[in-house]
């Protein structure tokens, strides 16, 4: 158990012109579950592998506990890693797969047997201990990979998209198991995924990465409610937040000539972010042309356009959706972003006078 800290960590590959990852600062408290999330190629796996020691660190430093581990071998960093394709030793039984790391650490046979038995009980792997990995299903293999990490009792768990190879149903149940297990063991964890739903449900704190840089760090709900940029806004949440070109004019935010809310921000173009659940189909409001409807059972997602700009609306009604509807937008739940930089703009809902100097 230990805290983990990344300070100014960056990676430039030999022969590469630009940095794959740069300037990453993350402080991870003891026992915290941190999820690194981002689209493919954003550098999240590279970052995890630098912590594991499988990639060299080009700049900055990584601390596990009180040790700077930049120059240490992976085996000396006191971490355990769970790989996407399980990476089990195919020629060893489940028992030996779990015990191998401990054997190399010079643990006594009694300790190894006890820890393997404990992990097997926790993961319900008891009946499979003498099987080879090829005789196991995908979910069972992933459990063995987890068991291999658990028995080591490391300072930190590193997960590299561990659920990506499982089918959708198994993924959901394994996700809950990983969370329960981590809570119970209280081991600091760093988890990489490209699945924003997985990220939201697992994390104590999320780190959203884009193009090798941290876009935003925060609790899942905080990030959902206050995305720091258009990138985060469109990446976190399903359906994605609709982003529309709008204007601040005459103390109000206007979308296609409809004033949505009074606002104190300076006049000019802005990007308006709207979550689908903050828009309702109503008998008054802004006209929207409906393009298609996704029926999800409990609710449906209505995709359409306002003045040619696409947006999604969640509708819980029973009646069939017409081709043209009126939508009303919750004025308190608008998100504004800078048109040029894409960064979030804090809105001043009530106009405040300029402070006199």
């Amino acid at each position: 158990m230990a805290h983990l800290s990344l300070r100014g960590v960056g990676k430039t590959y030999a022969g590469g012109t630009s940095a794959a990852v740069s300037g990453i600062d993350i402080e991870i408290a003891d026992g915290e579950f941190i999820v690194l999330v981002g689209p493919s190629g954003c550098g999240k796996s590279t970052l995890l592998r630098m912590v594991a020691g499988l990639e060299t660190i080009s700049t900055g430093e990584v601390r596990i506990g009180d040790r700077v581990v930049n120059q240490l071998d992976p085996a000396e960093r006191d971490i355990a890693m769970v790989f996407q394709n399980y990476a089990l030793y195919p020629h060893m039984s489940v028992r030996d797969n779990m015990a191998y790391g401990l054997k190399n650490r010079g643990q006594s046979k009694a300790v190894i047997a006890e820890r393997v038995a404990e992990a097997a009980r926790m993961l319900e792997l008891g009946p499979y201990l003498d099987r080879k990995p090829r005789a196991l299903s995908g979910g069972q293999r992933q459990r063995v990979a987890m068991g291999r990490a658990i028995v080591r009792q490391p300072a930190a768990f590193l997960f590299d998209e561990p659920l990506s190879n499982l089918d959708a149903k198994l993924r959901v149940s394994m996700r809950m198991e990983i969370r329960k297990l981590q809570k119970r063991l209280g081991t600091t964890s760093l988890y990489v995924t490209h699945d924003q739903l997985e990220a939201m449900t697992l994390a104590d704190r999320l780190v959203v990465l884009n193009g090798g840089r941290v876009e935003q760090i925060g609790a899942p709900l905080e990030i959902y409610r206050k995305p720091a940029s258009t990138f985060v806004a469109s990446f976190i949440g399903a359906p994605a937040m609709s982003l529309l070109d709008a204007h601040v004019e005459g103390g109000a935010i206007t979308l296609e000539d409809h004033a949505l809310a009074r606002i104190g921000n300076p006049a000019g173009p802005v990007i308006l972010g709207l979550r689908a659940e903050d828009i309702r189909i109503a008998d008054h409001g802004i006209p929207m042309a409906v393009e298609h409807v996704e029926e999800l059972g409990a609710q449906r997602i209505v995709h359409g356009t306002i003045g040619g700009q696409p947006l999604a609306v969640i509708d819980t009604g029973e009646a069939a959706v017409q081709d043209a509807v009126l939508v009303s937008i919750d004025p308190d739940r608008l998100h504004l972003f800078d048109t040029a930089t894409g960064r979030r703009i804090e809105k001043h809902l009530h106009p405040t006078p300029e402070p006199a100097l």
Partner: protein
């Protein structure tokens, strides 16, 4: 009578129809039919290969077995049946026992050295990142040399009058006399044979190493600090299928395919030099004109190889893990 003819005719017709139906039969389950719509077609394609096997393997084998029971006239005028005499003669001769012992020694040493060195080079080449392909090409290129040529090159190195290795040995105070001294010749034969076989093993070991999943290697990197342990516990077991295959191939190589090297090195040399059983079969049969005795020896060799193969597959393969 007319009735009979008609009946026969119709029977013929029926047979013909059935034959034709059989030849052009649609396989009952089209889902399982792979490529051929006529059952004879695959045999047609197999013919050349079968012909080669029969003409160059089965037929000579049968010939060898038959002539091993005869003493043949050296000039081809008839043969006398002698039963097992050729076999007892071969097995009881002290020269044969010596050659057999040397063959075993030669097989073990050549197999062990060429496998070991091939593996060592493959492991090292696998780690090279910069200029990897030129290293690999350099290491593999020897494989392109034909065995007699390899023997010739080897002989130039070991030559008693101008070979550089002779000078090297002299520098260490050893008078190297390949072709005259039994163990000097053996050393030269082993060296040339191993040198020729290393690239073959290297290619297979390298591809075997590259087939070990990267993530499994990385998992091992996290689990074990010592590189030797990772190699012993993870890489080597995963290479076992490759190694087993190579073991069979290398023993076969040492026993049979080194013939051209022996031929080049031992030609025109005194008779007390080491040789393998295969070379002795050739010498006795074609130089000594003892067809019967040489046939008996080759039959013994055949039995030994069969036994060896069975042993390899029964005892060794069990310990091999296939992915």
């Amino acid at each position: 009578m007319t009735d009979m003819t008609v009946r026969t005719r119709s029977a013929d017709r029926a047979l013909l129809l059935r034959l034709r139906a059989w030849y052009s039969a649609e396989t009952p389950n089209p889902a399982k039919r792979v490529q051929f719509d006529r059952p004879l077609t695959p045999w047609l394609f197999l013919m050349p290969q079968l012909a080669v096997v029969v003409i160059f393997f089965y037929w000579p084998s049968v010939q060898a077995v038959t002539s091993s029971f005869y003493i043949e006239d050296p000039f081809g005028f008839g043969a006398t049946f002698v039963g097992m005499e050729n076999y007892t003669g071969a097995v009881t001769s002290s020269q044969y026992a010596g050659t057999a012992a040397f063959t075993a020694f030669f097989c073990i040493v050549v197999t062990a050295l060429s496998l070991g060195l091939g593996l060592l080079l493959a492991v090292k080449a696998d780690k090279v990142i910069r200029g990897a392909s030129s290293y690999k090409t350099a290491l593999i290129s020897v494989y392109a040399i034909a065995p007699p040529v390899a023997g010739l090159i080897g002989m130039m190195f070991f030559d008693m009058h101008m070979g550089p290795i002779k000078d090297l040995a002299a520098f260490f105070g050893h008078d190297l006399r390949v072709g005259i001294d039994y163990w000097d010749t053996a050393g030269a034969l082993v060296t040339i044979s191993v040198w020729k076989q290393i690239p073959y093993n290297f290619i297979f070991f390298l591809s075997g190493l590259q087939a070990v999943p990267v993530s499994v290697r990385e998992a091992a990197l996290i689990d074990a600090r010592s590189g030797w342990r990772r190699f012993r516990d993870v890489t080597l077991p995963l290479l076992a299928p490759t190694a087993f295959f190579l073991l069979v191939i290398n023993i076969t190589y040492a026993m049979f395919d080194t013939f051209p090297i022996f031929d080049v090195v031992l030609k025109d040399k005194p008779a007390n030099n080491p040789m393998t059983l295969v070379y002795k079969v050739y010498l006795d049969g074609f130089k000594g004109n003892d067809i019967g005795g040489s046939s008996a020896q080759s039959v013994i060799l055949m039995v030994v190889v069969a036994a060896l193969t069975v042993m390899q597959f029964r005892f060794l393969e069990r310990r091999v893990h296939y992915g």
